[in-house]
Homo-oligomer: 337 residues x 2
Amino acid sequence: MTTAQDTQRETTQSGEAHAVPNPSAVGLVAVIVAATDGEPRALTVEVEGQAAGRARGLPAGPLVPEHPTLERGLRAWVERQTHQRLGYVEQLYTFGDRDRQGDESAGLHSLSVAYLALVREVRPAGLAEASWRNWYGYLPWEDWRAGRPAILDDIEARLLAWAASPADPKQSRRRQDRLALTFGLCGGAWNEERVLERYELLFEAGLIPEAHGQSGAACPTDIATTGEPMAFDHRRVLATAIGRLRGKIKYRPVVFELMPPTFTLFQLQRTVEALSGTNLHKQNFRRLVAQQGLVEETDGVTSGATGRPARLVRFRREVLLERPAPGFRLRASRRPA
Amino acid sequence: MTTAQDTQRETTQSGEAHAVPNPSAVGLVAVIVAATDGEPRALTVEVEGQAAGRARGLPAGPLVPEHPTLERGLRAWVERQTHQRLGYVEQLYTFGDRDRQGDESAGLHSLSVAYLALVREVRPAGLAEASWRNWYGYLPWEDWRAGRPAILDDIEARLLAWAASPADPKQSRRRQDRLALTFGLCGGAWNEERVLERYELLFEAGLIPEAHGQSGAACPTDIATTGEPMAFDHRRVLATAIGRLRGKIKYRPVVFELMPPTFTLFQLQRTVEALSGTNLHKQNFRRLVAQQGLVEETDGVTSGATGRPARLVRFRREVLLERPAPGFRLRASRRPA
DNA sequence: GGCACAATGCTCATATTGAGCATAAGTGAG
DNA sequence: CTCACTTATGCTCAATATGAGCATTGTGCC
């Protein structure tokens, strides 16, 4: 940035000149994503204050005056808690709901500014408290790579019951529409980007333990069906991140942030599939990548593994300049696996 | 929402239990968009604290404890300042850079959570201090509907000079690459979604008065070229909103939030063109809308105007349920107008 | 009626997809 | 060494989608 601005010295964003008339506590949260061995992983940490005991959380910490920017503050917290350096970082969403944050008592707001980060390698998690987890452990219904997940039978049955429960037929109808939209029930189609909407629906329907008190006793489903819980509202943040990432890989070449310097086209495909939770047609995928000019060949080939060796390629950084908006326009294969 | 959560009562997002250890001032800002007579408009208000005097700003106000959620707080501020009720609202971005907000003195952060709102009708702005402004008055280089804006000649010359100025050839090269990417110079293509990147580049290059002190004296360009200034960093917020909206209309049917209950296909096209700043091929546009099933015919037709009367149509809300991700995959017509 | 003007209908060449067949080039078993 | 197996890679083909333009249809206005 160039020049300091003194125009605004004496005024806040709102145009008022008081000294912090209504302070809020601002937290920073990070969803740090990697993909190794064809599995999508998020970096999690131990959470001490959590009554549930075993639920893990995302790297997070409060914004303090020492942080020059939000993003720098986030990087500092992540490095401190996980010893992981971040490369690609983008802002995700700012969460501020009173009822979800659970901070209504103090009479002031507590916001969480969430970020999405993509990292290349999974170092074996420098700290014992930090570890990489397959994100589908938290949202198992999102993984359609081996076809429709069986747990969806159970989930759908409960959701339909939830939709049918209101006395008011109009409200019942509205709930059914939402089911169709998000879970593809009643003739709707499954859209892999609606991760957050699905999680929120499950939350409202009472199938998410985090929605009930700390005991989780009121929750009628088990973890095998609705996934492992997370501390605070971090599963919601994770769902937001996955949805955003699934959308973004279709029009920006962000997947390459997850790849090593050289890789095979099939590894790339596996990574995209891991993120999107669907399967792609192999030949068409390589055609797409080729014609978009996203990669260039190296002279290396794979070895050791079974099957014909594959050529190693690398990301062509030049496409960022050439094409107006490169990325994958991926479309799931119709065949179930 | 269903149940209150007491799990988190005693902890903040970060897992610490202090009472607001590091407070921040949080502001809410709204970019409220309407499209009337084929022009894109944003709702602006008078800003009192602004030394520059005439620069207007976006509706904004601090987040206070009385606000149940961020979005509700935003709606309250907007209604108070502009008498405009909001329908469609989505979160845009949270701005928190020290150097841009100009609040480093106090030793605490001041964030702005920005929202994008789309409204149907332009009521003649209930309050005198609030008025609708064509958004291209603030970002004139973004309007390509009548072909490439002439002012870009001037802008490009200055940007090229800026890129050439560093002694370090590497840095110079990097600047040129950015120019190619954002402004389509040096063989690059113009991408109408990169509104924010273009504004930021101009800001860095010193062509935006807001980047210099309150006088604007150091700014080598005039308003006719680089657009009318706004208070604070609100032009950056506006640029963010336009970029987001231009992207979103391609895959979600959000334009209809700007349309009256019934409208003609050409009015719809004019609105899309106004937002995207480009021209579309008329026949292909209607084919697209038709085959996506986005609208249904009414039995009304236009009258009074010259030319053959047009059929009035309405938005088919059902598509939200049917199609996985409806929207316009608009592509600019090649011919310059 | 004849014009100007916009709405609407239709054609056509060219990409872009979705799906699958065929072949190539390795590994390991016998 | 040859076969079975596995994965990589090349290529075809039909179905759609897209970009561009021509033709026709209704209206208000002289």
